[in-house]
Assembly symmetry: none
Homo-oligomer: 225 residues x 2
Amino acid sequence: MRILVVEDQPRLASALKRGLEAEGFAVDVALDGAEGLWAARARSYDVVVLDILLPKVNGYQVCAALRSEGNWTPILMLSAKAGEWDEAEALDTGADDFLSKPFSYVVLVAHLRALLRRGVRERPAALRAGDLELDPGTHTCRRGDTEIRLSPREFALLEFLLRRAGQVVSKSEIIDHVWDLDFEGDDNIVEVYIHYLRRKIDLPFASHAIETIRGVGYRLAAHGG
Amino acid sequence: MRILVVEDQPRLASALKRGLEAEGFAVDVALDGAEGLWAARARSYDVVVLDILLPKVNGYQVCAALRSEGNWTPILMLSAKAGEWDEAEALDTGADDFLSKPFSYVVLVAHLRALLRRGVRERPAALRAGDLELDPGTHTCRRGDTEIRLSPREFALLEFLLRRAGQVVSKSEIIDHVWDLDFEGDDNIVEVYIHYLRRKIDLPFASHAIETIRGVGYRLAAHGG
DNA sequence: AGGCGCCCTGAGAGCCTGCTGAAGATCGAT
DNA sequence: ATCGATCTTCAGCAGGCTCTCAGGGCGCCT
């Protein structure tokens, strides 16, 4: 297990290196954002520990840059202050986990182990299938370059279909996940909303992106459609 | 996206429910560990928010029980006190993420979104015999590279034959498994549907993939045909 | 070879499912 | 209060699917 620690405070950096090596990890240290970015690109790590406040390039930028390059190595971000917005921003930038300083060594190792157990994440932040893209973070949806406005319910339905892209989902399953538990209405509501979605996301004269499996449910093609 | 919140403090529970529903999630609330365990078993959630200190069954136990049953729904654990050991233990019990109270709403949602983003569910393997392949998850069937469209009944019949590949299955056995229990019609319906399947899955000028054992039943060759 | 019974197969009727337009209900904003 | 957007219900329609039926073929037994 190879870990990259990007941390500009020499004391903390060397303490982490020593401690983690004692746990059996192989540890590389980068002392600023530029160096960290370079290291992360140069070799593949099992997890990256990334401070937010860094010289040259900050942690958010490093994280965003790696993600935009298709590098989905698990990233644990460290923040100097316990600002909540830091954390939200870190996770939305593409980090997998977050710790505010000061943290204890025990907690850090537990988080690292959890990240390692979880493995490389295979899915980018935005959900996508073909040229259809949906970002739960920003609540936006686009087909190619054109933005598509969706109502909350339409959005929730499409999100669910995208998370299950390629699989068939039944109408009752859809109702369970997209509607409230106490929803007592008819299955037909799903048909209606599928209809709304198709009207918005299908290109003219093209086949439906959301396929009907008669008697079973619906399926959104995993790779375009 | 359906979320289960297991939290015994009524104020917090209802605040979470309202807030998350406003975000477009469908939210169920369980007020103690036993209830939470029951709910998590009863239906499939996209993520579970689990307090550690709960009446009846505590959060660790709920988490461990679900994991031991093969339920890998993402779990976000909440701790009343910020004890570091709680967090390490939570992650080691099989939780995916951890928050200590008090936490802000923004942070909670960011964590939930990170968990949902990450959530991958593995699908059961496809059934196959020779170059014939049938995937119950995606409800697709293919012979070699060409996709074959099957009606629900045809699909169910072929699935049954594939699960019993190599064995002879009688018509009454087929009716028992593929048709409704109260089916009162004639055995001939099986012959008809075998015919439909052959028409769709057999290659021209080839022998039947589904063999007739006269007076006994049908058999699908286990290794191609 | 002949007869019997099992199986195959084409046609068609009825049912059921999903699609769709429209109207009523609900909610929030102006 | 009014308007607009969204959510939900309803009903008619079209087409696919299921099942029945009847005629014919073929294997198996005597």
